[in-house]
């Protein structure tokens, strides 16, 4: 059998032009009175994909999920599941199940009965229900809690019951609304990996809504970054981080340094940028930026090298003064005030116990980076 890792590595239907979309949001708009929660949004999700909707609260990600579940109808546009238009189909007839943020466990039923609820609605025969419930309890390792009521469980156990209940019917798509939001940090990290394993094991399509970027990066095959009811970028976690297409995305995920500037010169292989404050930066790839246009150069802190002397081979090197140092154990974060006034954040991995080039407050320092270390953003 192939390991899960290799399955995940080879899984990229979004790059295959012949791949059949599984869930399609087609120009979907949702308005609540005057407020537009989702604005003319189109999105494609593939079968067996672990898809994350990431955004701040109020960006429309939960509304999108609720429309897929059938609790809200789009004001305009279509939602297709496996080729079928979902308009007008009530939640209780949709082949999707949802795991709620509050878990929404039925307080008057035992764990068993909670899990069996959906199967009973389907009209599954009793012995089959018992078998499936036992299977689900085993899956989430709650066999000895079958007879308990929800209030007799800890937060983590409730989360697992909710999960077992929502996958018991083997839905085509599992929707998860902030599935780990109510758990403490340690439990959350463990559960992230369990969710990923579960998704592979059951071969389901997962759509998860989260505001936690780390959670989305860890679990998802692809992430859609949302803002004000629109999708800003859909890409794999690595692409989102390394190749954001807008300032918003670059800012939203991880830390970033932004240099406002203009394209001074553009050749086939290099782009020269003059920063608004005078810094000269040369990059390999300028994207679509034309010469003379206003752009932003974005670079992640860990791609910037800090040194006391100007590195001899550096293409891009800017001089400044150490403004702040934060020692975090595994790495050290420097804030360097460049001579043109801009503050740059750089982080250095503490790969050895003793630093050869110790830098501290008010030291003169050089920041340098390779021509391919950052991206040029036009919007």
């Amino acid at each position: 059998m192939k390991s899960l890792g290799s399955i995940r590595r080879d899984f990229a239907p979004w790059n295959d032009p012949n791949a059949k979309p599984y869930i399609q949001f087609d120009k979907v708009t949702k308005k609540f009175g005057d407020f537009t929660a989702v604005n003319n949004l189109s999105l494609t999700i593939f079968e067996r994909e672990f898809f994350a909707l990431l955004g701040a609260s109020g960006c429309g990600k939960s509304t999108l999920l609720r429309m897929l579940a059938g609790f809200e109808e789009p004001t305009a546009g279509r939602i297709l599941l496996d080729g079928q238009d979902l308009r007008g189909i009530p939640p209780y007839k949709r082949p999707v199940n949802m795991m709620f943020q509050s878990y929404a466990l039925f307080p008057h039923m035992t764990v068993e009965k909670n899990i069996a609820f959906g199967l009973k609605q389907e009209g599954m025969p009793g012995p089959d229900i018992d078998k499936r419930v036992a299977e689900m309890l085993k899956l989430v390792k709650l066999e000895q809690f079958a007879k308990r009521k929800p209030h007799q469980l800890s937060g983590g156990q409730r989360q697992r019951v909710a999960l077992a209940r929502s996958v018991a019917k083997r839905p085509k798509v599992l929707l998860l609304d902030e599935p780990l939001g109510a758990l403490d940090k340690k439990l959350r990290e463990e559960t992230q990996f369990e969710l990923m394993d579960l998704q592979q094991e059951l071969g389901l399509t997962f759509v998860v809504v989260t505001h936690d970027q780390e959670e989305a990066m860890t679990m998802a095959d692809r992430i859609a970054i949302m803002d004000k009811g629109e999708v800003m970028q859909v890409a794999t976690p690595a692409e989102i981080y390394e190749a954001p297409t807008s300032r918003f995305v670059a800012h939203f995920v991880g830390n970033v340094n932004m240099f406002e500037g203009k394209v001074a010169e553009r050749t086939a292989s290099t782009t020269r940028i003059t920063g608004a404050t005078g810094a000269q930066i040369v990059v390999d790839n300028g994207g679509h930026a034309a010469a003379g246009s206003d752009i932003v150069f974005a670079i992640r802190p860990e791609k910037i090298k800090v040194s006391s002397k100007k590195p001899a081979d550096a293409v891009n090197a800017l001089e400044g003064e150490i403004y702040d140092v934060a020692y975090l154990g595994d790495m050290t974060v420097y804030h360097i005030k460049l001579d043109d006034g801009q503050i740059v954040r750089a982080s250095a991995l503490n790969a050895s116990r003793i630093t050869e080039d110790p830098l501290t407050w008010n030291d003169r320092a050089w920041v340098s980076f390779r021509p391919d270390a950052g991206v040029v953003l036009t919007r």
């Binding site: 579940a69 709620f100 929404a104 039925f106 609605q121 469980l153």
Partner: protein, 272 residues
């Protein structure tokens, strides 16, 4: 907490309780009076209790009251629950403010007015006054109390429970009976008990809307008292007090035990 028994504390407690319970204690004590005179102690006896059960008028009135109470409380609970659901769920229908005002107006309406207007209605419609009209009147005025009790529970009801049920394949009606109703059932039961109690001790509205053959216990007691208080009435009231007290005590013990059990469960869950 300051738990010193200062003289002031003791005095105020004694005075407070005396003010509340002295009349009731007197009533109970005199129900065991040997003498026929209500205010003169003539020795201990339970004979009034025995004669009470041979007083056909009182027994009939008790039976009427019980039936009116059960029927009106049950119907009022159904209607009140429906009103509460409408008011909490459908927050945008036309005339909602008017509807909620009309549901809750009887709470503050003087009973005399409610009674009188119901009487006028029954006369106008040509309905013969009796068991049916009393029951109808009681449904009318207890319904709003049920609505208030159930509504306060529904406000804190987690709607995602219903969404989860529908998501798992239960149509709305099934969702209501399998999820919503069991969860709000305690509030509905309290609503029923409140309605029953209100019906049990209503005198004013019953007097207006009742007719021959449908005399309720409070009406019977009141009319007998006008002819002079007999120890028999004391005995009847004592039984009534006992019934109510036992009900309240059982309810609060059950409540307390549930609370303790819940706490224990939660502690156990925390430990894993």
């Amino acid at each position: 907490m300051n738990s010193t028994w200062s003289r002031f504390n003791i005095t105020s407690i004694v005075l407070g309780f005396a003010f509340l319970y002295l009349p009731i204690v007197l009533l109970i004590v005199f129900s065991f009076n040997e003498s026929k005179l209500v205010t003169v102690w003539g020795g201990f006896s339970t004979k009034w209790y025995v004669s009470l059960f041979h007083n056909q008028g009182l027994m009939d009135a008790t039976w009427v009251t019980a039936r009116v109470g059960v029927i009106s409380a049950t119907v009022a609970t159904v209607l009140g629950t429906l009103a509460a659901i409408t008011l909490t769920r459908y927050t945008r229908f036309r005339g909602r403010v008017l509807f909620s005002g009309m549901v809750f107006a009887p709470l503050v309406m003087p009973e005399v007015i409610t009674g009188l207007s119901l009487l006028l209605l029954f006369v106008a419609v040509g309905l013969d006054r009796g068991f049916f009209t009393v029951t109808l009147a009681h449904i009318t005025f207890t319904m709003c109390f049920v609505a208030v009790v159930v509504q306060s529970r529904l406000v804190s009801f987690d709607r995602s429970l219903e969404e989860a049920a529908m998501d798992l394949g239960a149509p709305p009606v099934k969702t209501f009976f399998q999820i919503t109703l069991p969860v709000i059932l305690p509030a509905i039961i309290s609503g029923w008990m409140l309605a029953f109690t209100l019906s049990l001790d209503d005198l004013v509205i019953a007097s207006f809307t009742s007719g021959p053959g449908a005399t309720t216990l409070p009406m019977k007691i009141y009319s007998q008292v006008r002819l002079g208080v007999t120890p028999e009435i004391n005995a009847a009231c004592t039984i009534l007090i006992a019934v109510v007290a036992v009900g309240v005590i059982i309810a609060s013990i059950a409540n307390k035990r549930r609370e303790i059990q819940r706490q224990l469960d939660e502690q156990a869950a925390q430990r894993g």
